[in-house]
């Protein structure tokens, strides 16, 4: 089973990287670009086969390690 975790900054938290990317894209002539936010995507291979259990385990991983929940939020996708 595979899991994909998105770790992104909470709303309202400054995203210096996103800001700089947006600025650079505008500078390159991509005028249609507004707000840009950058996050992480983490792809995990799991030996677990039960989806519910897998989700729970990945959630625990996020809380413990993958996300810094003081400033970041996460979403989990199983496939």
């Amino acid at each position: 089973m595979k899991a994909r975790v998105f770790v992104t900054l909470k709303n309202g938290v400054l995203d210096p990287q996103g800001k700089a990317i947006g600025h650079a894209l505008n500078g390159l002539g991509f005028a249609s670009v507004g707000d840009v936010r950058q996050g992480k995507v983490i792809d995990l291979e799991l030996s677990e086969t039960d989806a519910a259990k897998a989700k729970e385990t990945v959630k625990a991983m996020c809380e413990k390690l993958l996300a810094n929940t003081v400033i970041e939020k996460y979403e989990i996708e199983l496939k």
């Binding site: 900054l9 909470k10 309202g12 400054l14 800001k19 810094n68 400033i71």
Partner: protein, 734 residues
């Protein structure tokens, strides 16, 4: 208008008696925005209400002091029209919540304090205290803080050249992150924050304002309608890229004569910067918040005034210079906006969306702010000589001590900091003080941070003295003339009389030492309420010291330079073991009296050693501190790979002789003939001096009996930190 309720007042940390003053000063109830402004300006952090009466007692003047406490940073004269500008500041609480960002924004904040005065930052230091290594949070906090300091400082291109780290259980719930920035400017290009004159434009530059770091307690109040939104973190995220642009843009603007006053937006952002500039200039300030560059939609006046968004500055320009300034900030791709004007009303007036949100006398925020003479309970210093096992083999103890958490090499830390960028670092981390050359000259600045917290709980007064004396000694040991200090006073809750005593005695101790050593305090910072569950931290008055070397080529370092040099001990060894590293690490005790500091002897011994360095007669010096004599010899050997054979002198017991922490001592080495002369001169000057032996070989040998290989000492000394951190989590980056 929002009706102010007693709950709101309390949530803003304003006491009933303070609120009564607010009502009197305004002659009416405050608006919600005004309440927020009072709460931050009257906070301990901004007003120094518990410490102000005591800080006044510190010596702040000397012929070379250009600017003492009161501005964003202190300024000293280092000759040839050059000025050195420096300051230290804490970011303790944010770093405990989010170590990477907390430490990073701490670095960013202190850099702004320095470059807002016109200086280019040239060196960074950091003084860190963590909980016990075995505490479950410690590793995570060390990892995050160190990478945060590196992440910000490295990107800024300012070398981080030194610092100190202690581990102690009193910091388990309350780490200390104190960062110091040292900058250089020309004396005729120093910028202050006094917004003199009426009708001058107030400009905002840097990053946009978001809802960063607005005080948590007020989040739930009626002004916040976005109830659905996730709870906003009060942690700010640092943007070193923007800060680097801000630095360059500010220095470019400062090269013109367009600026009347400039001030960074630190804690309490727009509020404190505008109030302080108005206060110092004796003017009023009127701001139109609609003009403030905003990162988020629908920000209220309250949020904008209290936001602690980073990488922002407020400046007052000469009228008509707006376009010249705007061009510079646009070149650096930064926001620039004229957001207000100075007035002659002495009032702070805040307008937003056509409404006056605040209109208050500026003096209400400064002179009229409460000041407390908090009661304190004197406590007699701990006295006595603790018992210890006199038979323990000395070298086995040395092996343990140099590998102890407080004593092991900090290489793991400093290798994550760019310590050589700017091409002027002449003494890298690992020595007594960092040395950074004044670019393009042969002058150099020596920089150190010091305090020994374990001395400060048993005897806050001697502990305060010792911190200053050790800083002075570290600067002396590289050959610098110590010039001035910035302090960072980290203590527990000042409303507890026993803690207030620690503060008062600590400040008195610092004052006494600074006076005796001609080492004025030109700036500082207080961090109080460092407590968790009623447990206060060890009193930790960190001292950042700066000194000047007139000729950097004469600089001394700790590494042995030659075989067969005579090893000379300067200063008196009584064998003081109270509160020593030896006692803690080998006997498992934190007991006895802290070592007393004889300031006259400090001065005499230090001046003698410095004289030898300045005359080019000695190039190898190490001051004695944590761990005592044998640890210092081991450090000199490890730094060079050259061993030594040394023997005991003077006092009887081996343990107190080798490990006692008597103050005012230095080790120096010199070739035989020179050594004879030095010893004779010292004796003639009534300085206590002893020849301990010779350098040479690949081992450290004591009393011709026991020896240990330098290589072994090195591997023990280097092993602890990386081994401890090996279990760390994934290091963070920006």
């Amino acid at each position: 208008m929002t009706k102010i309720t007693p709950e709101m007042v309390r949530e803003h940390g304003i006491s009933d008696s303070e609120y009564a003053i607010v009502l009197k000063l305004l002659g009416r109830e405050p608006s919600f925005v005004e309440l927020g402004i009072f709460s931050v300006m009257w906070s301990e952090h901004c007003s120094y209400k518990s410490t102000r009466v005591h800080l006044k007692k510190l010596p702040t003047k000397a012929p070379w002091v250009i600017q003492g406490p009161g501005e964003n940073a202190g300024v000293i004269d280092i000759g040839d029209g050059d000025a050195c500008i420096f300051k230290m500041e804490s970011h303790n609480h944010p770093s405990f919540i989010e170590p990477y960002q907390g430490a990073a924004t701490g670095v960013g904040g202190i850099m702004r304090d320095v470059f807002t005065m016109g200086a280019r930052p040239i060196a960074m230091m950091n003084a860190l205290r963590f909980g016990e290594p075995s505490h479950p949070k410690t590793r995570h906090l060390v990892s995050g803080v160190v990478s945060g300091i590196g992440g910000y400082g490295n990107c800024m291109g300012v070398p981080t050249v030194g610092g100190e780290i202690n581990f102690h259980k009193s910091y388990n719930g309350n780490i200390l992150v104190n960062a110091m920035c040292v900058g250089l400017a020309r004396q005729d290009k120093i910028f202050l924050s006094a917004a003199k004159g009426a009708g001058n434009p107030v400009v905002y530059v840097g990053s946009k304002t978001g809802r960063d770091g607005i005080h948590g307690a007020t989040m739930a109040s009626a002004e916040f309608d976005d109830a659905s939104e996730e709870k906003r973190p009060t942690v700010q995220v640092g943007d070193p890229f923007t800060e680097k642009l801000l630095l360059e843009a500010c220095l470019e603007l400062m090269a013109t004569d367009a600026i009347i006053a400039i001030q960074d937006m630190g804690a309490a952002g727009l509020t404190s910067s505008s109030a302080e500039m108005g206060d110092k200039g004796g003017s009023g300030i009127e701001l139109d918040l609609d003009k403030v560059p905003q990162r988020e939609a629908n920000m209220t006046a309250y949020e904008m005034m209290l936001s602690e968004s980073q990488e922002r500055m407020l400046a007052v320009l000469k009228p008509g210079r707006e376009e010249q300034a705007r061009k510079i900030f646009e070149k650096w791709e930064l926001d620039f906006a004229v957001i207000g004007v100075t007035t002659d009303t002495n009032r702070l007036v805040i307008k937003h969306k056509g409404k006056v949100e605040a209109d208050m006398p500026i003096t209400a925020l400064s002179d009229a702010a409460p000041i407390y003479e908090r009661p304190f309970t004197k406590r007699a210093p701990v006295t006595g000589v603790p018992a210890f096992d006199t038979k323990k083999p000395v070298l086995a103890s040395l092996e343990k001590i140099i590998a102890a958490p407080d004593m092991a090499s900090r290489r793991w830390v400093w290798e994550q900091y760019d310590n050589s960028v700017m091409n002027d670092t002449t003494q890298h981390p690992g020595g007594d003080a960092a040395v950074v050359r004044v670019h393009g000259t042969k002058k150099a600045l020596a920089i150190t941070t010091d305090v020994t917290p374990r001395y400060c709980r048993p005897d806050p007064f001697e502990g305060g003295k010792q911190a200053v004396a050790e800083a002075w000694r570290n600067l002396t040991a590289v050959g610098a003339t110590p010039l001035a200090v910035t302090d960072n006073l980290n203590y527990g809750n000042p409303q507890k009389p026993e803690i207030m005593w620690e503060i008062v005695a600590g400040i008195d101790g610092i004052g006494a030492a600074c006076r005796a050593l001609d080492f004025p305090v030109i700036g500082g910072n207080c961090s109080l309420y460092n407590e968790t569950n009623g447990e206060g931290i060890l009193p930790t008055p960190a001292i950042g010291g700066v000194g000047l070397l007139k000729d950097v080529t004469k600089m001394a370092t700790v590494a042995f330079k030659r075989q067969n040099d005579v090893v000379i001990l300067i200063g008196e060894t009584k064998g003081h073991l109270g509160q020593s590293i030896y006692l803690r690490e080998i006997e498992g005790k934190e007991e006895g009296a802290s070592p007393p500091v004889d300031l006259a002897m400090e001065k005499k011994n230090g001046d003698f050693v410095r004289g030898l360095i300045e005359a080019g007669r000695v190039d190898t010096v190490h001051d004695l501190s944590d761990g005592g004599l044998l640890v210092a010899i081991a450090e000199m050997a490890m730094a060079s790979g050259i061993g030594a054979s040394v023997g005991q002198a003077e006092i009887a017991g081996a343990v107190p002789f080798w490990f006692g922490e008597d103050q005012a001592r230095y080790l120096i080495t010199a070739p035989f003939a020179e050594a004879e002369k030095i010893v004779a001169e010292a004796r003639a000057a009534a300085i206590i001096v002893a020849e301990l032996g010779k350098t040479g070989g690949e081992t450290l040998m004591i009393d011709d009996k026991a020896s240990i290989k330098i290589a072994k000492l090195r591997s023990l000394h280097e092993a602890w930190f990386p081994r401890f951190m090996a279990g760390e989590e994934i290091p963070v980056t920006n």
